[in-house]
């Protein structure tokens, strides 16, 4: 009998507990979209994360990627010059792809700078606790700017991995078939 009572009491606690204010607070801020109150309470954590974790990580990715893109461009530019000098097949198309690569690299650089300053505005916004809505807008703007940078990275990857690589594969096949210079 006593065990039964205790079991019933335990089940009752389980049912009632989530409706108490303490649990209600937790539910409102976990999983779903953050509330205005939770942003006001926690925006300083977000700013610390933007400044101390994300910024150095992004900076390293930006520098490494730009270095790599320029390194690849230089090597492929020399190769394109060889094709052009010897009037070989596919030289014009290859040069066109390289020009696109250079443009996309510049776009990546420019869009990263835009993203960097947008993120800095959110990270250094002083009134985030008093004006959580504005802080949320800055965070959303940062997200949009970051998506643009991510798209630039994906575009460059597609250009290199699909367009340039298939041009090289075609050229390779032609040279194998002609057994010579393919001009």
């Amino acid at each position: 009998m006593r065990v039964k009572k205790l079991t019933l009491l335990f089940i009752a606690v389980l049912i009632v507990a989530p409706s108490t204010p303490m649990f209600a607070q937790e539910l409102s801020t976990s999983g779903g979209a953050p509330t205005r109150e939770s942003i006001a309470q926690r925006c300083t954590y977000a700013q610390r994360y933007l400044n101390e974790t994300l910024k150095p990580r992004d900076l390293k990715a930006r520098v490494d990627r730009l270095q790599a893109y320029r390194y690849i461009y230089q090597r492929l530019d020399v190769f394109a010059a060889r094709l052009e000098r010897n009037n070989q097949q596919g030289a014009a198309e290859f040069r066109q792809s390289l020009d696109q690569f250079a443009k996309k690299t510049e776009a990546f650089k420019k869009n990263y700078e835009q993203y960097d300053s947008t993120r800095d505005i959110a990270a250094k916004y002083e009134n985030c606790q008093k004006r959580p809505d504005e802080f949320q807008e800055y965070v959303n703007a940062t997200r949009i700017a970051r998506e643009t940078v991510a798209k630039d990275v994906a575009d460059i990857h597609t250009l290199l991995d699909v367009s340039v690589m298939s041009q090289l594969a075609d050229l390779h096949n032609i040279l194998l078939q002609t057994g010579g210079n393919g001009s």
């Binding site: 999983g31 992004d58 390194y71």
Partner: protein, 135 residues
């Protein structure tokens, strides 16, 4: 009496440099400590100007090396045998080599940050309580 007169005539000359010393060019009159001081001051001025140019540069915020961080970029260590050849005819093995180079570069690029949107999720920004399921 004569000795006294002689001394009075010589004493003012002893406090001045000989006339021939004034006629020497400045680099022959400069002593070693003064020359060292001049060199140190000039070096300091060059360093100060260089640092001012660096500090005012818009690209300073992208400088990783100054922060003491090691910059090891795998994409820059991929070797390219024909890196400087701009003239010779391109043949099939040369294209094959270039394809391998590009494939290695693409692999190296994959290991770098991609600016994923999840990095700015509410969870990562800590705008919401951590998901209990993640513990």
């Amino acid at each position: 009496m004569e000795e006294v007169v002689h001394q009075e005539v010589e004493s003012p000359e002893s406090t001045q440099l000989p006339e021939s010393a004034n006629r020497l060019p400045i680099w022959q009159r400069t002593t070693l400590p003064v020359a060292l001081m001049i060199v140190i001051l000039m070096a300091s001025a060059i360093v100060a100007v260089a640092y001012a140019i660096y500090w005012n540069s818009a690209d300073r915020k992208y400088d990783l090396a100054r922060g003491g961080e090691e910059t090891k970029n795998q994409a820059l260590s991929v070797e390219d045998a024909d890196a400087a050849d701009r003239t010779s005819l391109v043949d099939a093995p040369a294209v094959k080599q270039k394809m391998e180079f590009l494939q290695s570069e693409i692999s190296a690029l994959s290991s770098l940050g991609k600016f994923e949107s999840s990095d700015l999720s509410d969870q990562n920004l800590q705008l919401v309580e951590p998901d209990p399921a993640s513990f």
